[in-house]
Symmetry: C2
Subunit: 134 residues, 2 copies
């Protein structure tokens, strides 16, 4: 069921400084910051040869990464996104296996314009998993 790792998301308190560290210190190709107000984040994409890292900074009042940064003020790894062929099939299989889907269980349109779901980190050993229909 799990396909490619689409991205690894890292929450950071200072997106400009984090993008500079990945570009200048680590020598990676980084995008310009993109504000995604409907997702409550500003994102910088770090392009690697086989996948990407997404640096996320909270945007607005109800950001999904704000609580994480309250607990981890320096930042940290926030979630892993895996691609799946059919998100409804994946969801139904996961729910049948006893895994909890966050929210109302319906896929939402994610930051890349594709249907996504998040799985409860307690069901996967502390890791927040995002599934994105490829």
């Amino acid at each position: 069921m799990l396909g490619r790792v689409n991205h690894i998301a890292i929450a950071v308190p200072d997106l400009k400084a984090a993008a500079a560290a990945y570009r200048d210190t680590l020598g990676a190709a980084v995008s310009q910051p993109q504000a995604l107000p409907e997702h409550g984040v500003t994102v910088v994409f770090v392009e690697l040869p086989n996948t990407k890292v997404e640096l996320l900074e909270p945007l607005g009042e109800a950001s999904p990464v704000a609580a994480f940064l309250d607990k981890n003020p320096s930042g940290g790894m926030h979630h892993i996104c895996y691609e799946v062929d059919d998100i409804i099939l994946a969801r139904d299989r996961l729910v049948e296996a006893g895994a909890r889907v966050l929210g109302d269980g319906q896929p939402k349109t994610g930051a890349h314009g594709k249907p996504v779901l998040f799985l409860h980190p307690k069901d996967f050993f502390g890791t927040l998993i995002e599934l994105e229909q490829a």
Copy 2:
């Protein structure tokens, strides 16, 4: 400088249960557990099309993931490993840029038999970064 994401490492308190969740619930191909006493972990490889996830369980008294699990008893994302072409060149560039290499600054032989270094998470917004010579 940063090349492929070689792996994403996830520390777990119960490797057997975690491997079963990735295999049976998430439908991924997982390896048999491999004890790596010289690295203080037992590892299960989760093979994805473009990279891999490594599930790590502490092994022995001085495991590098034991303190992480004390702080995060359910488990969690532990580090990201990026490939580099020349680990000495990468280290020298990083040190010149002010980044801190963990330990004595000399590459060690990592779990895949290749030279590796770890970078201080405080220099990279809470993310522990491993570099592995490809």
